[in-house]
């Protein structure tokens, strides 16, 4: 029943996407507003299909309908309700279904938002592109990655459940949905970019209108990436949160180009410049989403998180080819129309700072992309197997991160068009003083090493300058000063600084050891004491675990464990963490006692400032939401950019 309903709903959604695509294209080309309206209405059919398919899958997972292969392979009688629900994205076919659902949701939201302009060709063509993308993904669900295939032969009575790593932390319920809200969300700006090229309306109007449609996915993606790091930290047990793994890079690459776009689009909004560049950034963001989905889901790259799965490689690669060919073709075709008026008068201006930002983020993205695919390139050239791992990325991106931090300090205080030296001097003096004071304080506190000192100093510089801008905004606009790019954007910046500082600190000052402790014995490391109290067996409906009970610093206990899942031959380590604002104590059970009551080996990692990363991620999401917070007083047509308007921000001396 579930399978039939799900498959039918998939088919419905696929059909709706195709029909909508054809109807809209015909309507737009022939100039028939009625056809255009009809074509747009298919959005609702598409959404209904996606919702029914998801409901069928959820129903099957929750009621454990093992007649579906997906359920039989990713669910079990013992799996608790939460992880039965999240099982939908614990494997490839279900993730694609989630992708489809999110996409249908975005298209429906688009239809609602632009309902009064249904026959506007720009909106029409954007919807066409949206339908094309939807048709691809729902087509994938009907062919290469069908979540509703049924098992051959008799229905099994039980299944193995989701991958053990995907059923022992509640973050699994949040990380993938946020990630998909982000990645899929970039489809809408991409669709509008293509539509503006197709219709030739490359002016700035559409950019302003879809500004929120770019900001929101970006915020979700940011939050999703941070949640992913948190999940690795809590589950994988090596004390790290970011390993430059291909799957991590896959989400990070669109984030980088998306970030570049969010900044440079402000130049276009205000000055009408950089049109080709901005469109290219949107196109790259979406293409990178598809490319990295291919890289991580087709099994060409080895990864901790890899899904190795069948058949999805060629269609994804082909889709990537189509996306790039279409958008690059459109850009080349319209290139002449895109030549922008206006110019940047001074290198000491906000425009120039945004250009520098784009340069840095572009370089960052290039390094990450090259490092990720380089092993494949080398293998294609001479068959040699090489590895490009974290040390490469750390070395290459460190200078760029330092430059970005510096730019984050300087750029927000720069006015549009042109700044005088005196203005910059007066605006930056206190932030610079704070930076130097922080640097000296860090030095006195015993921080050594160029990288962490630079990160702390420049981080303080950037944070102080963000706080300064926030205060200016608050004085000018009252509590509303927290909203908009000038307010929310600075909160995002503060979040970035928190994460950068935490990365530098935890990278440079993490301490790690292994303690072999007999029962009752106490060991000490990095200023903490660890008393091993004994082990205890824990059994749940899904697994059994051996927990070591360790008292830390004489109060409170941590329980690192090794869990045995029936479907996994090797035991799975589960770390136990005590977090505080200043540092985390991270324990793993490195080896179980050789005999009952025997000594255990406890892995101890003491890492400073890790909490700041999660806090920074929360700040970035909050800041993004404040950015898109609706402003009451301004009407849309007033936002129409006019180069004659100069920056009103005057500085209180």
């Amino acid at each position: 029943m579930n399978a039939a309903a799900g498959e039918a709903a998939d088919f419905l959604a696929f059909g709706a996407a195709l029909a909508g695509f054809v109807t809209l294209v015909v309507g737009l080309l022939r100039g028939r507003p009625n056809l255009v309206r009809t074509g747009r209405a298919y959005t609702w059919v598409l959404l209904a299909g996606a919702v029914i398919a998801t409901a069928a899958m959820q129903h099957a997972l929750i009621t454990r309908d093992f007649s579906l292969s997906y359920v039989a392979n990713n669910d079990s009688l013992g799996t608790p309700l939460l992880f039965r629900i999240t099982a939908m994205w614990s494997n490839l076919a279900g993730s694609i279904l989630l992708w489809g659902l999110v996409l249908a949701g975005y298209l429906a939201a688009m239809a609602v938002r632009f309902r009064r302009r249904a026959t506007d060709p720009l909106v029409g063509w954007a919807t066409v592109i949206g339908y094309a993308v939807a048709a691809f993904f729902f087509g994938l669900m009907l062919t290469a990655s069908n979540p509703f295939t049924t098992v051959r032969g008799p229905v099994p009575l039980d299944g193995p459940g989701p991958d053990p790593l995907l059923q022992n932390n509640v973050l699994v319920a949040f990380h993938p949905p946020f990630l998909y809200l982000g990645l899929v969300g970039f489809t809408v700006p991409f669709a509008f970019a293509c539509a503006s090229l197709i219709t030739g309306r490359v002016g700035e109007g559409w950019l302003v209108e879809i500004r929120r449609w770019t900001l929101l996915p970006w915020g979700f993606l940011t939050f999703g990436v941070v949640l992913g790091a948190w999940w690795s930290y809590k589950v994988l047990g090596w004390g790290g949160y970011w390993a430059w793994d291909p799957v991590e890079n896959a989400a990070f690459l669109p984030w980088l180009t998306g970030t570049a776009f969010l900044h440079s689009v402000m130049v276009q909004e205000r000055r009408g410049m950089l049109r080709v560049w901005n469109l290219s950034l949107l196109v790259s963001t979406f293409s990178l989403t598809i490319l990295t989905t291919f890289l991580t889901r087709s099994g060409v790259l080895d990864s901790v998180h890899s899904f190795n799965n069948t058949g999805i490689g060629p269609p994804l690669l082909a889709f990537f080819g189509v996306v790039v060919a279409t958008s690059v073709g459109l850009l080349a075709w319209r290139g002449d129309l895109l030549r922008s008026p206006g110019s940047i008068a001074s290198p000491l201006s906000r425009e120039a700072a945004f250009l520098a930002n784009n340069f840095l983020f572009g370089a960052f993205a290039l390094i990450v992309l090259l490092g990720t695919v380089f092993p494949l390139l080398v293998q294609a050239v001479n068959g040699q197997q090489i590895t490009v791992g974290a040390p490469y990325f750390d070395t290459m991106t460190m200078p760029i991160v330092v430059c970005i931090l510096f730019l984050m300090a300087v750029a927000p205080v720069l006015p549009w068009r042109r700044a005088t030296q005196g203005l910059v001097r007066s605006r930056l003096f206190w932030p610079a003083a704070v930076a130097v004071a922080t640097l000296v304080a860090a030095l006195i506190a015993g921080v050594r090493g160029l990288n962490p000192l630079l990160a702390f100093g420049l981080g303080a510089f950037a944070a102080a300058s963000a706080v300064r801008q926030l205060l200016v905004e608050l004085r000018r606009r009252g509590p509303a000063g927290f909203t908009g790019p000038a307010g929310g954007g600075m909160i995002v910046h503060l979040g970035v600084v928190a994460i950068a500082v935490a990365f530098a600190a935890s990278h440079s000052f993490a301490q790690q050891t292994q303690l072999t402790l007999a029962e009752g014995q106490t060991g000490s490391f990095a200023g903490h004491t660890f008393t091993y109290l004994g082990t205890r067996d824990v059994a749940t409906s899904t697994h059994t675990a051996l927990e070591a009970v360790v008292r830390v610093d004489g109060s409170g206990t941590l329980t690192p464990a090794i869990s045995d899942y029936p479907q996994e031959s090797a035991g799975i380590g589960t770390p136990s963490v005590r977090s505080s604002f200043a540092e985390d104590v991270y324990l793993t059970l490195a080896s179980t006692p050789p005999r009952p009551g025997g000594p255990v080996v406890i892995g101890v990692i003491v890492e400073p400032l890790v909490e700041w990363i999660w806090a920074g991620g929360g700040m970035m999401l909050a800041g993004t939401l404040l950015c898109v917070w609706p402003r009451r007083r301004r009407r849309r047509h007033e936002v129409e950019p006019s180069p004659a308007v100069s920056e009103p921000a005057t500085v209180p001396a």
């Binding site: 890289l295 087709s298 099994g299 080895d302 190795n308 080819g321 060919a325 850009l331 002449d336």
Partner: protein, 185 residues
Amino acid sequence: MTEAAAGRVPRSRVVLYTAIGVGVVVAALIAVLASSRPAAQGSASDPLVGQPAPPISGPSLLGSGRVSLSQLRGRWVVVNFSASWCAPCRQETPQLKRFVAEHAASGDATVLAVSYDPADEASLASFLKSSGADWPAVIDPSADVSYGVSGIPESYLVDPAGTVVARFLGGVTASEVDKVIGKKT
């Protein structure tokens, strides 16, 4: 659109050429990606083949005294990394026995078992004894690093002059080894 722009500004080619350049690069990338092999099947590189065999020496696993690879110079040696918990290692033992038996008369070849897992030495010793393995076995924890062992069972064939001539991933058979020896002599 050309008409629209004509007469005002000459059509800019920069975007067009850039687009063509980007298209070419992306096409090349797609070609590489489409032809790349999945990571899981990556061919093992054999950097040691053709090189002098790294020394192995240490206490004997089965008896007393020391065993080393150099003692066996002048014979073909199958250096066999093994552990008792590894099922395919157990499966290949009869093949190794056959190999040793075939060459027993001429005395031109033997096997050197190397314990892979320090925690497993005792059980590997008892397994080898119980399965009647009559070749030397050695405890040398550094050998798997100097040979670059990526997983067991893994074996290397060392020629009488002490050069590595082949690497076998997974269980090895007597005929496989003999084929290599036949080719080299």
